[in-house]
Symmetry: C2
Subunit: 221 residues, 2 copies
């Protein structure tokens, strides 16, 4: 028998009464998702809530030209709501959720989670805060889309800097990059982290290492 | 004394216990917001939840070129969460909320609503569904931003059609427009409704009346 310890991933666990705990305990399954598997694409039935134990899920939209736009990534401890969007009132969109790495996860069937949310304010509020966090990720993306294409300008600047540095390791600070682009350090750092999560750069103390020139060029153009 | 009847705007009212009802009843205020007033812009303190009784609120982002991007509009009965984003865990973005018309509304101070949400699963779930609905509005916008600029193509097509019709009233069907643009009726209807909410067209049975050529041209270009 697998020892299920979903409670450590659910901050509201201790506020549940015994019957709710039992309901979740009996419903949750540990699953393994192979890298590249599409878990949810809007056509698939309502799988349930997925909590990443180890690995990574990526939620994206597909543009009509076939470009994948990453909305957010879920890492260890994160909960994926949109594989259970059937249980959520008000959701009228589909995203594709794919395993970006071999992923070990808990699956909580939508029905069980819904029952718990209906009784427990703590569970419902937690669901709300997870949604708010994903909403914030998407709003950041919207800001990028409508604003001055900071992604492509930063990508172009990094390519230029690597030419100046004569290699793929840059020692320019985030603040200096911001000054070049008429932006502030925080915004540059956030964008660089996005690049890092896309495997384009690696950030270490005081350094930016370009790890995927091809992608960087695509973004710059 | 004003007769407060906020309960008819809160679907979870009947599931609240008496103390919670009293708390809300004592905290809620009826307010009047003049057209053009900015209620929330990320700098302002946490005003509270606003329920539109009559009027209209508009939430938008400002691009760096100064273009306002409407995220969604709130009409009679709708609740605005983002004027109370301080009380919501996970929200890391700011939108500007402005009265798009003279608006009569209920204001529920954030603290009171938070207390109710913490105790009532029904209230917390309702908040979640309102957020999901706004999230869906924004996802629709993202889809527009990353996809084939349907807005500008439709705008250009409407201008062309008005040329053919020799006036501002078009009798072309949404399906025909969709066929022209390689899209489907539902998508065209949704976009036309967005144009309508922006005051650009007026939709009546079997007709599309262009009411703001200037805006339409801006979108087309």
């Amino acid at each position: 028998m697998i020892v299920i310890s979903v409670e450590k991933y659910l901050p509201f666990w201790n506020e549940l009464d015994e019957s709710m705990k039992k309901l979740l305990d009996g419903a949750v399954k540990e699953i393994h998702i192979e890298k590249g598997t599409v878990i949810s694409d809007g056509q698939t039935k309502c799988t349930g809530l997925i909590i990443v134990i180890k690995g990574q899920l990526r939620a994206y939209l597909m543009s009509e030209e076939g470009r994948e736009i990453t909305l957010y990534r879920l890492k260890d401890g994160d909960m994926c709501l949109f594989t259970a969007s059937c249980m959520m009132n008000g959701i009228r969109f589909d995203v594709t959720v794919e395993a970006a790495a071999d992923t070990q996860a808990y699956l909580i069937p939508a029905e069980a989670y819904k029952k718990v949310s209906e009784k427990s304010a703590a569970a419902a509020n937690y669901t709300g805060s997870v949604m708010a966090s994903r909403f914030s990720d998407v709003m950041w993306l919207v800001d990028q889309l409508i604003n001055k294409k900071l992604d492509s300008r930063l990508a172009a600047l990094l390519i230029e800097e690597s030419g100046l540095a004569g290699g793929n390791v840059l020692t320019v600070t985030h603040e200096e990059l911001g000054n070049h682009l008429g932006s502030v350090r925080e915004v540059i750092t956030r964008m660089l982290r996005y690049f890092q999560s896309e495997g384009i750069v690696r950030l270490t103390r005081g350094r930016i290492e370009i790890t995927d020139f091809e992608k960087l060029k695509q973004i710059a153009s």
